[in-house]
Every structure is written in structure tokens, then in C-alpha cells.
Subunit: 414 residues, 2 copies
């Protein structure tokens, strides 16, 4: 079968019954050029999220099913090396997010005496809505690369919160990459590939895998549940709600001045690895669980209401309930775009699951969103008793990459 | 919408374009009774693998996309307690594999002052082809439960192999449970539920998550690739090849005598957590990689052949190649039914991925299958240089559970 007819087949699959349900705004059918035709079973997920645009993909993109997140320490010693790294990452990200192998000599067609340019484990898996989202942490703005004057005022170091149990070796990082896809192997391949490309210029500091459900792709799908069994994300802004995203997520012109203005069009990402004490929770009564959260467990409705999406006054919920304390109306209107994933990292050696929520939240300004909200939650939220924050990071997420540009160019070409 | 019409909707979805591709032998459409109707996006995977049968499900079942494997130490002190544990696990497994909540007071409909009987995080997620497969390790046949005489002769302790780097705390276990499903949260929920039910009678010793692809569901789907980028499983027996399964996988009448004959209809499972040294492999030339494996990287064809499934003489492959040394023709015809999953457990603290293959293989007799094959591989396989076995276990997998019976009843009611 020639490449043209293979593409025709894939296009046909993409417009079939499955594709019609899955292919939403901002998602186009994959051409899968450079790869063999895939199976009919995954034709609907063989889709590409465009890499280029005003904002990076992976933020307002409908949430994918799988996450591989990595934080990197930059080991490059010059600004030129850092630029070359981000340029190489950009070229790889363009290929990966299009469902193509990186480089010219991949699993098939490589030179026999050279290592394959692509490691090959994602061949046949298509793009699977892979997005790669890259940001710069506070530590990148030290004196190594002359970037101190360009550090945005909003890129503050997070304060210590009560009951934080952070592991320094898996917190922070000069750069972060959030890889999301509807196939875990596609996300893992992407992080592995960027790590390999970074050799000698940056090294993985820590990483986290997560899983969830691509529920937002289908507006009629149920809200996903966290590992406490409660619906989580009911009040999250919709990807289509551009007004809220402009107000709450994207950095706007005027937010930063002078050499820090590069961040306009970007966002700020806070990551927290939240270990959930599942065994303790599971011994708690249903009533107590619902009082702690502020919603009913079955339907997800706010307490005293019938439906998950019913309008409610947060002040009518229990004083120390999570939903009340985190509600925008109790926090000066602050909202974050949450993209958290559940994680299970086996057991902790004591027979307990090492599991929880890898919290990822995008926001226009951490000083008015995550920091004040978490300050309240850490002190008053009844849920905190069951949680332990074990990793933390904050990054200024680069604005989108125009055609021909590179990740972080607005920062590094200034 | 009433429950009848909801079921009608699901049935309609199950017979649509997606369902036709996904629903294979031994898989029936879910009724999703006891749960709310799910989204149309996952209608095709809302399927149930029957729990009861001659053999346990999860062995010859078409491989699901996700794995949560757990090994348990039994802490019960009497045979009666052990029986009650396995009976309770059976009741839970029947509910879980049918896509239902466990117990009578789950996320919805529970008693306010009692902990919910179901933890709730898999509500709305359907069965997703969940299978639970349970076995007994050599240590269960010590003097605690009077089972020493019933230990099958074939349930030998695995010998030490050259270059083993086993971590004792994540090896062995009195019982094992393999949970496989097409949604990771469904598999995690199942292991969590069985762990919770076991409280006071058994505790998780170690656990492993894995991911892969449900490729075998669609015979036209490409063979999945391991994290070295090579197709893995090309020569695996098909689930429909009952002749080979009887010869190589299921314990047959006469294989064991007397009080050990309970294992007839069961199988033996060997699990090995194989850390793959990915960064070293990635620096190896394409030619070297292909010589080490014995197949071409792109197509998966045996070296010197054009197609992945071409017939070949293993003796024509490089002397130390993996495919040659592992081939049945070089091992007295021994074959195993492999069900391995790729895993990525973050990084190892040195910037390297802690990733590899969680090898799961079912066989009729480890003395003529895994042990001799691994003895050869550990000594001669060129691939071994890139591998490190970090966890290991062997279990006698119980025969199938008849309606009204319980897991291990053939062993424990004798």
C-alpha cells in the first residue's frame, strides 16, 4: 500500500464514528506521514494538536489521558548553549507532536553504524494528541545566563506552607516539560527524547507520571474522580471560555514591564505532588468525607443541592470544607486552570499505596491565585489532614511558538 | 433517562463501529448495571470479561492496556482466615470485573455514618475489560496453613541467575494479583479494593504499574514495541490457539499427583521487573541493536527476512541474539505466554529513566520453560548487558472459579 492511499485510509478513519466524537476544537486529523498505517482500533485517537500558536498547547487543550512531567537542571554553561537546547527541543517537539519520528534516521531508514535518531518505541502510535509545554523556573534567572533582569515579578518563589513535606530532590528545576497524550508510551517517548537531546546541556532533575481520563474531550462525559473517589474539576474553566482564560490564565500585555514583558501570552504553572493518605480516608464515614469535601460523593452536587453543576453559595457549605475554601468567591475571584493527574507510584514500603494527585494549575499570577488559595487551604481545609505535599515547583510558561520560532525565543532573543 | 433506555443506549454503542472492532472472543458488552451511563467516547471499551470459567481470566484474555500488579504477604494466622480472605476477594472480583461497585453502600447510597463500601474512584469508568488473576507463591506452602503437602512439584523456587540484581523487598509474596484493564484507574481501584478488603489478613508486599497497548484485541494492529523500540511479542501464542495453550500454558491432568492435583487447569506465573538501561542502548548503533535482538528495528522482521511474521530458522540469526536464544526451537519447544508491560517509574536520582519491562509469563511448568530459557539468556544473550532484573516472583495460578466457588477453593477445600 503506497503512502498516499495509507493517508487516505487514515483520513477516512479520522472522520468515522469515533473520530466525530473525539476530534474537537483545535484538534485536526493526523496525516501520520513518516509512519506506517496504524490499526483501525485507534483511528479516532490518531490526532494531532497543533504545536504552533499564540499560546503553547497543553494548557487550554482538552485534557489528555496520560501525563509524563519532567523538571530539568540546565547544565549548559553559556546562553548560546541554552538557546541551542531550546531550538533543538522545538524541532523535536514539532516532529513529536505531529506523530513523526525525530531526526532523519529513525527506527526504519537509519544509518547502520549510527544510533537511531529516534528511539522507536512510539512508532505506530501516532500523535495521540501529544502536547509538550515548556516553562522556566526561578532558578533559570540567576547569573548563569544573564537572565536576572528578565525575571517576571510574578515568578516568585513559593512560600513554605504549613505541613509541607517537600522533598528537595523532586522540587524545583530550571526548566519543566509537561508531556500529555492519550497513550502513555507516547508521553514517555517524548520526555525520553527531549532528555536524550538535552544530554550535556540539561539533565532530568525529577519526573512524575500520571493518569486520568480524557473526559473533557466529550462534554457529556462524567467529570473525572480523584483517588478519594470524588469528582474533581467540576468548576474548572472550559477550554472554550476564552474570556475567563484571558482574565485568569494568560499573562496579558501590561502585566510585566520592560525585559520581563516576554512572558505576555504565557502563563504560570504550579506543580504539587500531593500524596493522599488513602487508607485513612477509606476508614472515614461517608458523611465525614462529604463534609470535608463539600460535595456529595455519588453525584458530585454541592451539599444541599441536587445536581453537580447546580449554582451554589459557597458560604452555605461547611466552614472547613475544601470546595468552600477553594471557591473563587472566597478568594477574590481567583481561578486557576487545573490539569491535575492521579498518580500511583506503587507502595511506600509500609503496605500503603504511594498515590495521590499530581496537581498542575495554570494561572495569570501566582501571587493572586495559588499562593493565597493554598495559604488558606493549608491552614483551614479539613482535607489537609489527609494530604501531604511532597514535591513542588513553579515555572513561567513560555508564550506560544510562531512558525519558524523556538521555545523561549521571546525571553532569549531579547 | 430511565435505566432501561440507558442500557439500550449502551448496547447500541457497543454494537457500533468502535465496538465491532474492539469486542472480541470472550468479551461481552457491559450492561453497566449499578452504574450511571458513561460517555459515548468510551462506549467501545465498556466491556466485561467474564470472571467465571475453566481458567482464570487475564491469561488467555486479549492483553489490556494497563496493569497494576501486587504481591501480598498473608498475615492471617489460620486456614479459616485465609479461606475467608479468598472468599471475600472472590465476591469483590465478581463485582469489580462486572463494572460494579463493591458492597452495598458505595459512593451513592451508602450509610452516612459508615465508610463507603466502595472507594468510588472507578464509578462511571465501567469494567473496561478488567481481569483479576490470583496465584499462590511457594511461601504460602510453609507450615502456617497446612498446605505443605499440596505444594505442586512444579512450583519450585527460582534459582539465582547470573547478574540478577533482585531487591528482596519487591520479590516473592504469598499471593499475587494481576489486575489488567483498559483504564489505569480501573486497575488501580481493583488492587486498592482488594488491599482494603485484606486488611488484617494480608498486606501488599510490593506492587508494579505498567502500560502497554491493547494491540491483540485487533489482529491487524501492529505488534507493541518495548522501550528499546523493538516489536515485542511477535511469536507469542494467540489467545485463540487452544492447542498451544493446552500444551504450554495450562496445567494438565496428570501433571501433578495427589493433593497437589488442585493446580490442574491453573498455570504458573513468573514475574520479573527488568530495568532496561535505556541511555546506554540509545547510544548503540542501529546495526548493533539489530544484531543484539535478531530482528530489524523498523519492520520487526527476523534478520535476513522481509516481513515480521516470515518463517525463519533461528540458527541463522546471530549466535548471541535474543530472538535466537529465546526461540522455542532452541529450547526443546518450550513456549511461554507472555503478558509483559512497559513501566516507567520516574528517574533513578542520577538523571536516568527508571524504566523497563515488567515481564509476566504464564507456562505449564517453569522447570521446562522459564528456568532453562532464562539460564541460557542470562549467560549468552547479548541483550543481558543492557538489562537488570530487579524483582522476581513465581506463583501457582489458581484454576478458574466456577459459579458459586471461590479463588483457590480447589487448594483450600481439599
Amino acid at each position: 500500500m503506497g503512502s498516499v492511499s495509507r493517508r487516505g485510509l487514515l483520513a477516512a478513519l479520522g472522520s468515522g464514528a469515533v473520530g466525530a466524537g473525539l476530534v474537537g476544537a483545535g484538534v485536526v486529523a493526523a496525516e501520520a506521514s513518516g509512519r506506517a498505517a496504524g490499526s483501525s482500533a485507534d483511528g479516532g485517537s490518531a490526532s494531532v494538536v497543533p504545536f504552533h500558536g499564540e499560546h503553547q498547547a497543553g494548557i487550554a487543550t482538552d485534557v489528555q489521558a496520560n501525563l509524563h512531567f519532567a523538571a530539568f537542571d540546565v547544565t549548559a554553561t553559556s546562553r548560546e548553549e541554552l538557546v541551542s537546547l531550546l531550538q533543538d527541543w522545538t524541532a523535536a517537539a514539532v516532529a513529536l507532536t505531529a506523530g513523526k519520528e525525530v531526526g532523519q534516521g529513525g527506527a526504519s531508514g537509519g544509518k547502520p553504524l549510527a544510533p537511531p535518531s529516534d528511539t522507536g518505541e512510539a512508532v505506530d502510535l501516532h500523535a495521540n494528541r501529544l502536547t509538550l509545554t515548556v516553562g522556566a523556573g526561578p532558578s533559570l534567572f540567576d547569573d548563569r545566563f544573564g537572565l536576572a533582569p528578565a525575571r517576571p515579578a510574578a515568578l516568585v518563589d513559593l512560600p513554605a506552607f504549613p505541613a509541607d513535606a517537600l522533598v528537595p530532590e523532586r522540587s524545583g528545576g530550571d526548566l519543566c516539560v509537561q508531556a500529555c497524550a492519550d497513550d502513555p508510551q507516547v508521553a514517555v517517548h517524548a520526555i525520553r527524547t527531549l532528555t536524550r537531546i538535552a544530554a550535556g546541556r540539561a539533565a532530568v532533575r525529577w519526573a512524575q507520571l500520571g493518569y486520568g481520563r480524557a473526559a473533557t474531550v466529550d462534554p457529556s462525559a462524567p467529570t473525572p474522580r480523584n483517588l478519594f473517589g470524588f469528582k474533581d474539576g467540576t468548576a474548572n474553566p472550559a477550554a472554550s471560555d476564552t474570556k475567563t482564560l484571558d482574565e485568569q490564565v494568560w499573562v496579558q500585555a501590561g502585566d510585566e514591564q520592560g525585559s520581563a514583558a516576554w512572558v505576555v501570552g504565557g502563563s504560570y504553572l504550579v506543580a504539587r505532588r500531593i500524596r493522599m493518605h488513602i487508607e485513612t480516608w477509606d476508614r472515614t464515614s461517608l458523611q465525614e468525607q462529604e463534609q470535608v469535601i463539600g460535595r456529595t460523593k455519588g453525584t458530585g452536587a454541592p451539599l444541599g443541592h441536587a445536581g453537580e453543576h447546580d449554582a451554589f453559595d459557597a458560604r452555605t457549605l461547611p466552614a472547613s470544607s475544601h470546595v468552600r475554601l477553594a471557591h473563587p468567591s472566597m478568594n477574590g475571584g481567583a481561578q486557576m486552570l487545573r490539569r491535575g493527574y492521579n498518580f500511583t507510584d506503587g507502595t511506600d514500603g509500609l503496605g500503603h499505596l504511594d498515590a495521590g494527585l499530581f496537581f498542575l494549575a495554570y494561572q495569570r499570577d501566582v501571587r493572586t491565585a495559588f499562593i493565597p488559595v493554598q495559604t488558606v487551604l493549608a491552614r483551614q481545609d479539613a482535607l489537609s489532614e489527609y494530604l501531604e505535599h511532597t514535591a513542588s515547583g513553579v515555572w513561567a510558561v513560555f508564550p506560544g511558538v510562531p512558525d519558524g520560532g523556538y521555545l523561549g525565543q521571546q525571553l532569549l532573543s531579547a
